[in-house]
Symmetry: C2
Subunit: 139 residues, 2 copies
DNA sequence: AATTAAATTTGTAATCATTACAAAAACATT
DNA sequence: AATGTTTTTGTAATGATTACAAATTTAATT
């Protein structure tokens, strides 16, 4: 997605498409790496001079509140961010710490049967060891 | 469950059933409140004199490693603990911060289709507003 | 292009949960 | 009771996140 499209997408969701916001969203969309704030900072600091970690926190919180990003709490000591807000699952590898998506159909999620509850978010997380790390261990 | 049964359960899982461990497990099992370390500390400090928060952290980490408790990472800023290690889902209310269980059949969880992966843990989290808080808001 | 008011970003300090670590205490075995 | 091991404790360290006020940028107006 181009910066123009990203800007339009942010605007459509009530977010003024300022430069740093566009760059951060662009990073999320293109990398698809479920980054932590630190990962974003370390990657973008070369590209955006004078970028502050606080700004990344501010922008990501805005994205989550506006519904254009998800905050993933797979592990208690870190929040990861995902620009894909459609229903899908996440797997985190204990060895390489990587997080990958897997597709699930919304209708395949089990019915919680919570009468009278309002459900805003659904998160399906798996943890284990990814195929790549298993092959490395066996080798 | 009685202290005796708890002690036997811990022993069966390779955990020496020391007094504080039994009391902490007993708390988890009887309260079923998905507590944070702070909640456990504030409740048990009256009952166990000289209890340290570090001990609670130590014991809970041991429980999780030994497979007799789950660490829930529903929200990024807190870890909650659950002595029910069977497959089930969790709902967290944004208003009252309460966490409740809901039953799901293991076979109803969607197939992630992750070929060659080893899956150790499955977590299904929902967030929203519980029926009780909705009724209070409407009233 | 200069002015201005509002929104955003920055950097530092504060906060909060968790962990590290070494000393003290409890435990189990002889 | 004595001894060696395990556990607990308390304080300090860590690390992620937030608070906040000053500096900067933005967008609209003159």
């Amino acid at each position: 997605m181009e910066q123009q499209q990203i800007a339009a997408y942010l605007l459509k969701n009530g977010i003024r498409p300022l430069q740093k916001r566009v760059k951060i969203m662009s990073y999320l969309v293109s990398k698809r790496n479920h980054p932590t704030v630190d990962m974003i900072y370390n990657d973008l600091i070369h590209e955006i001079s004078g970028l502050s970690k606080t700004t990344i926190y501010n922008v990501l919180n805005l994205f989550v509140e506006s519904g254009v990003a998800l905050a993933l709490n797979i592990e208690g000591n870190e929040i990861r961010y995902d620009a894909d807000t459609s229903v899908h699952g996440h797997f985190k590898c204990k060895v390489c710490s990587g997080v990958i998506d897997f597709r699930i159909k919304p209708e395949d999620l089990p019915n919680p049967g919570l009468q009278g509850f309002r459900i805003d978010e659904e998160h399906y997380y798996l943890k284990g060891v990814c195929a790549f790390c298993i092959s490395k261990i066996e080798a």
